[in-house]
Symmetry: C2
Subunit: 265 residues, 2 copies
């Protein structure tokens, strides 16, 4: 059962459900982690849907969670708890989960495949998640968008004109490389967590910059990237997830729609 | 021998030297990787010091390097070659090297320690390397600093006032946690690559924002972070490296000194 419904918390065990600690109300960086858990059919709980979830997040953010003696205190969500383990950082959690849940290359056949997949995920997060976030917060994450609108417009213009095509073309090149193998996936002819990350990135950027993405789709130079987005959405467990109430709507998170930033490049 | 001098390149073997591909002339993101290689006494070559190194970097950046069929093409340096393996992304390369060179917790005793160390390194890179970079390039990496000076000033003011103290206080908290153990290191009473990353971050921020860092040092609330910086600099191999011509000076890379951005918080 993959579900946002609360499950009983147990002490460390192999079958322990995963627990995602992330801001309720937005897909955000937590969404990459949800997609991995959903694709794998893993059992997990999620502060987006647990009673008092927001206070659990705030406990970590404010440093109120007691020092447990084995885990470094995390700075910010997403945070994953699994048994006694508490780890943070999106790409790090993805790598931990991907390795346990079969979303990295088989370690016996391709021991370094996990590093190749990690590089792809990090690159997608850099250019198609962190940079879009900075388009609406170029000056300070602590200020409102309304306090940095002019700078946001300038950064978004550069993003849709230069950065977005650069990253889209890069992933098109990866998908066309021999290392990607056959089928729609980035590496080694098999689905990995990097594909789920790229799906979510493309999905979010389509929401935030629909004009720029429609233009890229029309131009037909990134057909493999758009095909990957479609192929992930058609995975049975991902489809069921996307159609469920667990898939939260984009709002004031990483990907935001502001008409004045929806620039035609 | 740890040296920037060219070594004969061989085909894949366990004793193959490492080869770092990074922009010559700046420490930049490559410096984290150099520090790991130097601390471990590993044999490596570095495009900063090889003949025609810049063209090797540009070959990757321009996508001219032929598709080798096993490695995904990287987008940008730093890139590490080791035998047949070619990987990119700073934190990813650090994790690969740290695991091979004894700069992560012993996998038998602490199998998840590598994820805890990775989270610390990623957090330091986020707040004390990527954000300082964005302070002089808040609008567009493709534009000159001179074309985004006003925005840079605004972002730097926020950085020294809010973000820098936040990250410094976070690492002070980690160093004071039970999980850090005894001694000056971040995790498990032992030096890991996360300590080398934090050293380089503190070092670079001291160069870029000397007034803000001097104030933090005077206030005495981050004594453990500054002590870690000193303890890394005193490691014999790191000391020898820092005193060698292989340690490049800060210039127009991640950490830059602009008087107008050297704001007293």
């Amino acid at each position: 059962m993959a579900s946002g419904a609360p499950a009983t918390r147990q002490q460390s065990s192999k079958d322990e459900p995963y627990h995602l600690i992330y801001w309720p109300g937005i897909p955000g960086r937590g969404e990459h982690i949800r997609l991995v858990l959903e694709e794998a059919g893993a059992q997990y709980t999620d502060t987006a849907f647990t009673e008092d979830g927001i206070n659990e997040v705030l406990g970590f953010v404010k440093g109120k969670v007691p020092d447990d003696g084995i885990n470094s205190p995390p700075l910010a969500p997403p945070i994953l708890e699994h048994g006694d383990l508490v780890i943070s950082q999106t790409s790090n959690i993805l790598q931990y989960l991907g390795t346990r849940l079969g979303l990295v290359p088989d370690a016996d056949k391709d021991p370094n495949g996990v590093y190749r997949v990690n590089a792809l995920a990090l690159t997608a997060l850099d250019g198609l998640s962190n940079e879009p976030h900075d388009c609406h917060h170029p000056v300070a994450t602590g200020l409102y968008y309304e306090d940095q609108k002019e700078e946001s417009k300038r950064k978004s213009e550069d993003y849709v004109k230069n950065r977005l095509p650069k990253f889209m073309s890069y992933f098109e090149r990866v998908l066309g490389s021999k290392s990607s193998g056959s089928g729609p996936w980035l590496y080694g002819s098999a689905l990995s967590y990097a594909d789920l990350v790229l799906f979510q990135c493309v999905d979010g950027v389509k929401f935030m910059f629909p004009k720029a993405m429609a233009k890229l789709e029309r131009e037909g130079k990134h057909t493999k990237v758009f095909a990957l987005h479609k192929a992930v959405a058609e995975r049975p467990r991902i489809r069921a997830y996307l159609d469920s109430p667990r898939r939260q709507r984009y709002s004031n998170g990483i990907y935001r729609y502001y008409e004045e930033l929806d620039i035609e490049p």
